[in-house]
Amino acid sequence: MKRRTFLQLGTMTAAASWLSGCRSANEKLIPYLTPPDEGVTPGMAVYYASSCRFCPAGCGILVRVSEGRAKKIEGNPAHPLNRGKLCARGQAVVQELYHPDRVTQPLKRSGPRGSGQFTRISWEEGLALLTEQLGKLQRERATDRLALVTPPLRGTLAELAAGFMRSFGSPRHLSYELLGPDWLRTAARRSFGQPSLPYYDIAETRYLLSFGADFVEYHLSPVQYGFAFGRMRQGRDTVRGHFTYVGGRMSLTAASADRWMAARPGSEGMLALGIARLILAESLFDAGSLTANGLRADDLLRRLEAYDLDRVAHLSGLRQDVIAEVAREFATTRPALAMAGEPVAFQTNGPDAVRAVQLLNVLVGNLNRPGGIYPDAGETTGPEDSFAELLSLVDRMLGDRISVVMVHGDPVHAVPPATGFQEALARVPFIASFSSLLDDTALQADLVLPDHAALESWGDVIPLAGTREPVIGLMQPVVTPLYDTRQFPEVLMATARGLGGTMAAAFPYQSYLEMLKSSIKKRVGPAGGGDFEVVWVDLLRQGGLFKANNGQGKSLRWAAGATLPDPGEPRFAGDEKQFPLHLQVYPSTAFLDGRGAPLPWLQQLPDPMTTVVWDSWVELNPETAVWLGISFGDLVEVTSPQGSLRLPAVIYPGIRPDTVAIPLGQGHHGGGRYAKGRGANPLALVALMGINREPQPAWNATMVRVTRISEKGELVTAGNPQGSYRSELIEI
């Protein structure tokens, strides 16, 4: 008798003791408004529907709450965007709520800026300090000396912030985010005459050609596109969608591709036009689509003459036969889909390179088709050139024309210092931060008015992109606030009330919740039927407003008179002799631009490509490493015309020998015990590049050199650098 069989006699009791602890069944979804003792049994878990606002994707979540504590975040299966799925970051958001270093009440600076010395004060005091500063500007008739800096806001909060700044009389609301898709909106406006973001029907496509669009990690709507990718591969009986990725670094997304084309950085747009020319020359294009878009093949072919195969192969560093093969595959497999992503956009020729990729979609006729591209139903407008606004604010701050800055978010960490933002902010006499951790920005602030954690907040979350039906997700508090914090919009409203006069009159609401309800009521319209309270509770229960109504009518069409994209050759900061390597900075899978770094689960999550934990690193091709005498884990110095950094080296077989890459996200001065002083922030290396003297967010156009310092990189990887099993042993 196997010992196991023998054991079965005794195991039932063993299992019971193993599972000691109370049994907890799950109640149905309940809205927060249900009184705590009604329909909720102590010891039983309940689920609250809410939304994730950790990144702009805005997925729907369900939070399992037991005994008044949030336990586990799951995807909301009813949410049309993420259908019950979540990314690693969304799973970790519960640690934002219970972070041991949260700011528990308002703080006033008591030491020099950056020292982290603060005095605890009450909300009355805190609000009075802010109102006093703003009141002074009003009295001096200098209301435009107030600036508000936030990430791009949507929905009710956007309305509120805009109303606040309008009634105060300051046009200086900067909505900036390093990874904001401004470039996609601008490109769409120039190509299609409308600034809406694209919706990619990845699930139904048969040939996906991504020029640097990293939809597995962060691009537009990672969970939605990850879901679609699974379907594209194995969701259809007889079709397995093919995936080709173009980019100098093999990203996590590229790792899933069937073919990786390591094009030289900045050459992607020209490569796209080379593919377009070949499709035209070999008459593989969709004639109907060209006519419908007002384009003529012979005319296009003539104008793309300069992009012959020979030249494009030379520019991109790829083989001619490979380019031709991909061009033919792309044109003859229908439907086929081309996407452009951040690594392409953040080059000096980025704006036109993105449009070159869009042109490919027109050529093979996949606009407004299953397996192709539609206009997205997310917010149809949004910042198109917030980078220019950022620079103009920096100018004003440097010219001492800004006296008060209110900041939500952590721009001190997530804006490249080459813009001069940090230096300019330091000149501003009064900075108020709304961070719930003492992050890099809050450390510079004179006043910290801590926001609630996401799981304590009310709000609406309009997904950036990823659906063809308009979606409004709702956020509701799932636990009572832990500390003496207040929601950012509540603070804005209280400040307006404190200022009195027209400011107070602009916000006739008792609370942000009331404002939120009235704005949702407007969105629901009369269709919702009689009693809005009933509708509201229903919406909270399901997590938002998901009914399809319009948006289906819109379509994409190449705009009459739109110029042909002309990316031209890229330019780079730093001369080739001194700085022989291209630097690519990319958002870390776990931390994005740095917002995930405070959460220990994300620090402990091995980076999927390198398995590095709790750190940052620079990736070098094995050949380059040999040439520079660098081994895995060595401490190296990376120097650009802008600055230098020390960090450990990772030998990375999936990167061009002339390129190195560093993930964004680490290198915080603050941000709590898990983030502070860990790794390095590569934004310090990035130089500012301009097109026709106008600075552009060309974050990947900096050249660097790398030198070895010592063998003490203190790099820790969770896996063996080569993987634990030999892959042939396990047949993959």
Partner: protein, 237 residues
């Protein structure tokens, strides 16, 4: 294989053609199961506590290089090398095909961990801390394992148990798809499919018969409950 006394035989299918290596499952597992937070030193010592990890392989050389991801969790073997070596019977097999670990029996010999060819058993070499108020996130359904105890993936047995009680309350069997471990639940690409392999019509059972299927280190004869499906296509390696 021995006679099954239960209508359930839990198993999983991992479709490597879908898996993008994103790591959502890794965090979901840690969140669901009170898995300790490990610092840099602990991981440097090879003592990471994750119950589920994504193996990453580089295949080939630049520019013809590829990456393959392999989610590895307890394979819930039917001939589990970890079970016969435990002197106190902490590692056992249950009638539903789960390879269980009774924490309060474990005396920490680590024989099971030594014997596991998949290296999925993790030992609490240290006591793990959840600095206040981080401890609020701990699930009341599962114990927090102290120092000196071996732990591992349970296929989220607390969820299976909950589903079984719900089903029994209604006098029926657990439906296909009704219970999912945290990893499968969150996987954006639906690469992980969990289900009852004793029911030939369940999604997991159907997928496990795919011609793309293989078992991890199959030649060791451990008879895992997890079937991996090979990535299709990949013609350009």
């Amino acid at each position: 294989m021995e006679k099954m006394t239960s209508p359930y035989r839990w198993g999983m299918v991992v479709d490597l053609d879908r898996c993008t290596g994103c790591g959502a499952c890794v965090v979901a597992c840690q969140a669901e199961n009170n898995v300790g937070i490990c610092g840099k030193r602990e991981i440097a010592e090879g003592r990471d506590m994750h119950w589920l990890r994504i193996e990453r392989f580089w295949v080939g050389e630049y520019p013809n290089v590829r990456v393959r991801f392999l989610p590895v969790l307890c394979q819930h073997c039917h001939d589990a090398p970890c079970e016969p070596v435990c002197p106190v019977y902490a590692s056992y097999h249950n009638p539903e095909g789960l390879n269980g670990q009774v924490y309060n029996r474990c005396v920490g010999t680590r024989y099971c961990g030594n014997n596991c060819p998949y290296a999925v058993r993790v030992f609490n070499f240290y006591s793990h801390e959840w600095p206040k108020p981080l401890d609020n996130q701990l699930s009341p359904d599962i114990t927090v394992r102290p120092r000196g105890v071996m732990e591992k993936c349970t296929f989220c047995i607390q969820r299976i148990r909950r589903a079984r009680e719900d089903a029994e309350g209604e006098g029926r069997k657990i439906r296909d798809g009704e219970v999912q471990p945290a990893c499968a639940q969150t996987c954006p690409t639906e690469a992980l499919v969990f289900g009852n392999l004793a029911d030939p019509r369940s999604r997991a059972a159907r997928l496990s018969r795919s011609p793309r299927g293989f078992r991890l280190l199959e030649h060791l004869g451990t008879h895992p409950s997890i079937t991996y499906l090979k990535g299709g296509g990949r013609e350009h390696v």
